[in-house]
């Protein structure tokens, strides 16, 4: 159980850090797809199957395609132009800040009394229960998310669309 978690964690963290350090944008996007698939594997490990499939559909399927389209649409000139690092100073400060945040978070996690919790057996929330929850107590939130997605996608189209003044009436 723990071994599987460690393997999944190494997959996620390795793919994510390689993506963030890579100089090739396409490699970054594809490595991030690997990291998102690893996160879906983590959800499967934790027993949240429906969330794992949602992660797979939304991130591995949809967001990765949008990212790849953005990479292709914003590509200038040479096909294999590397994304250069800007300044050593910014990178050093970023590592210092991230290291500090990691130190604070891990110190807080190790210092909190979390061991008292019993390792409960794998909880099983079936899709039927999730559907009843979504249609019952969470129905207003579901409606709001639907409206939010519609507005966001319409806004994305409006922002990204080419406005040609000669076509205007």
């Amino acid at each position: 159980m723990i071994i599987a978690l460690i393997i999944i964690a190494l997959l996620i963290l390795g793919a994510a850090s390689a993506a963030m350090l890579s100089r090739n944008l396409i490699h970054s996007a594809l490595l991030l797809v690997g990291a998102w698939a690893g996160i879906a594997a983590f959800y499967l490990w934790a027993g949240a199957e429906f969330v794992a499939f949602a992660q797979g559909l939304v991130y591995v399927g949809a967001v990765s395609m949008v990212v790849l389209f953005a990479v292709l649409l914003t590509r200038q000139g040479a096909t294999r132009a590397p994304v250069e690092y800007d300044s050593i100073k910014r990178a050093v400060f970023a590592f210092i800040v991230a290291g500090g945040v990691a130190g604070i978070l891990i110190g807080a996690i190790m210092g909190s009394p979390l061991e008292g919790r019993l390792p409960s057996p794998t909880p099983s929330v079936s899709v039927l229960q999730l559907g009843l929850l979504l249609m019952g107590p969470y129905a207003p939130a579901l409606l709001i998310v639907g409206v939010l997605l519609t507005v966001a996608l319409l806004g994305a189209i409006v922002i990204a669309a080419v406005d040609k003044p000669e076509d205007a009436p």
Partner: protein, 103 residues
Amino acid sequence: MSALQLCLIVSSLLFCVGLIGALARSNTILVLLGIELMLNAANLNFIAFWRYGPHPAAGTGMMFVLFSIAVAAAEAAVGLALIIAVHRHRQSVRLQEANSLKG
């Protein structure tokens, strides 16, 4: 070390990897992807606390992660549309060159 602590440490490290990406890189797409990674780290925390919390049968953590994924998808769509719009105006995806409001 309990499994809950291991999950939390993994999500903290993932958050920090995303933070490095958002702070150190100047390509707008990579910054947005770093922010996405940080959001995913928060989702890992929700699932970990749901799994090892006192009431795993309630399913509250799963609900929260589902809505969080939906909002993250909307954010990614709008963010990448903004990147394309900025690229059309400036012919560049570097953050340092997107420094004026009226393009």
